[in-house]
Every structure is written in C-alpha cells, then in structure tokens.
Amino acid sequence: MLQLIMRRIGMMILIMLVVALLLFMINEGDPRLIARSVLGPYAQDDQLQLWIEQNGYDRSMLIRYFEWIGRVLTGDLGNSIIYKRPVSEIFWDRLGNTGILAGVTFVIMVIVALVLGVLAGMKEGSPQDRVISVLSIATTSVPEYASAVILAGIFVFWLGWLPGTSSMTSGFNVVELILPVMVLTLYGFGYIARMTRASMAEVMTTPYIRTAVLKGLPYRHIIMKHALRNALIAPFTVIMLQINWLLSGVVVTEFAFGYKGFGALLLEASLRRDIFVIEACGIAAVFVAVFTQTIGDLGYTYLNPRIRFK
C-alpha cells in the first residue's frame, strides 16, 4: 500500500511538471510576445528588446522554466497585466469563491445522486428505477449554459424568486449562490446516480443479499447494513473523477452568472492574454484535478480489499 501511494504521488508530480511545462511553453515560449503583452501594443522594438534583457527573458527557456517553478512553489505568481497587481492578491480570493461554489455543489450533488442511485438500483426494473434512470439521462443532456438560461427564465423572470446574477457586489449572499449550484448539480448528478444505480443493482443480485432476505431480515436493514456498504465502493472513484468535470462546468457557470471565481478569471485572462494569471489558473485547475484523481484511485484501492491485498 505504501509503495502504491509513493508511486501514485510520484506520477502526480511528474504530470504536474509536464503540465506546467506545457503551460509555460504556450505562454512564455516567445519572449517578444510576453514583452508585447506587458508593455502594450504601442511599444517600440528597442523597448521590447530592453525589457527582455532587463527581465532576463533572453536566457534559455529551460532555465527560465525551472526558475519559474521555484517562484510558483514559493507563492510568487508574478504580476497581473490587466489588474496591475501581484497575481496572488487576486488569485486566492477568486479560488476561494470557486471553492465555495464547487464545495456546496459537490455536497448537494453527491447526496442527491447517491440517494437517487440507491433508490433506483434497489429495485431494478421497477417504475421507480425507470423514472430515476430517465431523469438522470435527461438532466445530463442539458448543458450548464442551457440550464442557466432556462432556470433564469423560470426563477428570475416568471417567478421572480431569485436574482439573475451572482456577482456578489454587496458582500457574500447565499441567495445568489442558489442558481449556479442548481445549474451545476443538475448537469452533474446524473452520471454519479447512474453509476450508483448500476453498482447497487449488481450488489442486490449477490448471494449474500439473497441470504439476508431469506433469513427474514427487515428490508430496510438489508439495504442499510448489507447492500450500501459494498454498493458505494464503485461510485467513490466516479465521484472523485467528477470533480474534474465540475471544474469544467464552473468555467461556464461562473461566466453565465457573473460569479467572481477562478473560471471567470481564467476566461478573462485568456481573452486578454494576461499570461501570469493564465498560468496560475491553469496550474491550480490541473492540480485540483490530478490531486482528486489520485485520491480517488488510492481511496478505491483502500476501500476494496480485493485489490488492496493483491
């Protein structure tokens, strides 16, 4: 187990280094482009050249890459070109906002998905199973940007219950969080629910459940004590992988509702070539994704003794 953990962590670090290299090459490969984005479109050629030399961008890319890795690891993310401030001053706030949105969504999504998945898988082929299965395919077919306008039409325009934007201009407001969370949950829960259903349905056909039924144990007891424990192992990995998808959805949803999170920041920075912000956002996104993937793999191994003791 320890060896497996070390190997997975090593792989994680290697992937992060390669991803960082890719991001670095795209953004800082050409020194003249950086000088151009920092100094603006009206800078003269000799000004660009001077800036490149003053800031050490005339050295080889590999040296700059390792220097940059060192700076990022010590928390120095460079200066934002749009905001004219250190990236770290803007970035952590934005990441925190996304953390709130994604965290709330994640908890609600997982609870909804597991409950529906277990209810469906408990009685395979029953009307309750059919309804839940169709529902989870249908909601997974509505992308975030579509449900954002549909739900805004319903809850903001027709019913007038919720605000249409979530920019949180007058401080943090839970009401403004409702629509983004709904949008993300709606699109994301279906896949976990379907996996949970499949896993639950499989467990329900096993001999030990039949034994429990034949022993005359109460149905509730069989589900809660015997079936759930095994049925929830497989969805665990899917749930951890879902965080990667959640981060994708966050970019679209934050844009849709004007929520000031890291996805909106990444989009803005990409469109205006704010390279240091792009790098920070890209690295953070991939780190969260790779980290949760690793946790998912290790957790699955830990939860499933058949793999653990191999």
């Binding site: 795209i26 975030e144 469109l271």
Partner: protein, 297 residues
Amino acid sequence: MTDTTNSAPIAKPDSMLVSAFKSIALLKESPVGIIGGLIVLMFVVLAVFAPVLAPFDPNAPLLPFAFPGSEAPDGGIFLFGTDHLGRDILSRIIWGGQRVLFYATLATVSAYIVGILMGLAAGYFRGYLDEIISFFANVILSFPIMVLYVLIIANLGASGANIIFAVVFASSPGIMRIVRGVTMDIATRDYIAAAQTRGEGAWYIMLVEILPNARGPLIVDFCLRMGYTTITIGALGFLGLGLPPPDPDWGGMITQTRSFVTGGFPYMAIFPACAVSLLVLGFNLLADGLREVSLRD
C-alpha cells in the same frame, strides 16, 4: 469497461460500415434507443434540408422583439419569435443546427481517427511506445476539459478549424484509452496469431483484424462523444470563443440574447437552449439503447 468486447462476434470481420448498420438494426429491441435515434434523425433532416425548411433568412433583420407566434411583415409567422436584431429564431435554430452537426461530426470523426490509430499502436506494439502515448494521454486528460478548450482557443483564435483541432486534442486521448484496452484484449486471440503466422503486416492486422472486432464499445462511445462535442461547441459559442458570427450557432445565440431573459424575452435564449439539450438527449438515449442491446446478446 471491456465487458462488451467479449460479446462482440469474433467470426468474420465485417467492414465498419456494415457493422454499424447491423448495430442500428438491433436497436429495434430498445425503445429508448429508438427515441434517441429519431431525435438525432430529426436534427439531421432539419440540417440537410435547412434551405427548404427554414421559413426565413437566418441573418435577415425582419422585426425586432417579436413574440413567438406573431406575424411577420410579409405574411409569414415567427413560430419561435425573433431576437433583439429581428432575426427569426426558428430559422436560426435550423441553420445553427446544420453548423453544429457539421462541426460536431467532423471534429468527433477526426478525434476518432487519431484516437484509434494511437490506441491500436499503443495496445498492439506495447513497450516504450505504449508508455509514451499513455503518459501524454494522462497529461491531457488531467486537464479539466473546459480549461483546456479555453487555453487552446484563446491562444489559436476562434475558428471552425481551431475548434476541430481543440476537440481532437482534448478527446482523442480518451478514445485512445478505450481502443488500447480492447486491442490488448483482442491481440491475445488465436486469429491474430494466425494472421501473424501468415506474415501479415502489423497495420494490416490492426486495421483489418482488430479494429472491426473492437467496434462494440466504440459505437456506443461515439454517440456519447457526439453529445459531448455538441455541448462543447455550444459552450465555446456561449463563452464567445465559438464559430464566428453572424451565421448562427446555438451557443452564440444563447449568449447574444441571454441578457433579455430576465428583461421579458426569455424565449430568445430558451429555444436554442432547448435545441442543444434535445440533440444531446438524442445522442445520449441512442448511446444508452446501443449499450443495452450490445450487452443483451
């Protein structure tokens, strides 16, 4: 994951096209799949006959802010209303569907060609080649997909060709993984050994002996991926990174009119939103039906 591979008939390798038709014929056993297939078929028909079926010119400013069902100046009816610039929404949805389906198909097929070639090579040759391909697939797959799209499109610029490139770049590693798994499984079969003994070349074996027998999981995955690509193209349009205006695409239509949703004209963005969702639903149901059928026999 590979559970459908064993059920794939080993006997004689049909051409991919023939086997695709066979799988579609099997669909009659799955009502869900048929509904999905009909939805997709409807959009394909709308796309192919867009010039005949669209009631108005999709880019012509006719009558701004007309509600659904109101009369056009020249006597026709705006079934879905018009947008803020007076363009007929139904016509834009039909033409936009043509654009979305065209790019989604082209991008997904391209991603499949790249993914299949890499997966076959990795799964058949194994060794260092496999290690390298798999590692880079892992690197690409560790990006949250929308972050990757934003990075690529923002760097290359928004155009049809760049969208296709981005889709190939982002989704071929996933396809490669599936193909690699199935290939490693099939490569151990006797008929592969027979072909090797006959002295067939490696690529002949991969493309003629292995690929047709790997079609089961690939056809299901293809339908799912068509749905994802449709979502992606819409999302890029929505973020302002999509196909260039003024020609309609669904994501772009939503983003141009979404500020009117709360201002009294929700239909402008909701109709294209429903169109995307319905098409994706069609692909998802079709994939579900095909999976159900392939697991049954």
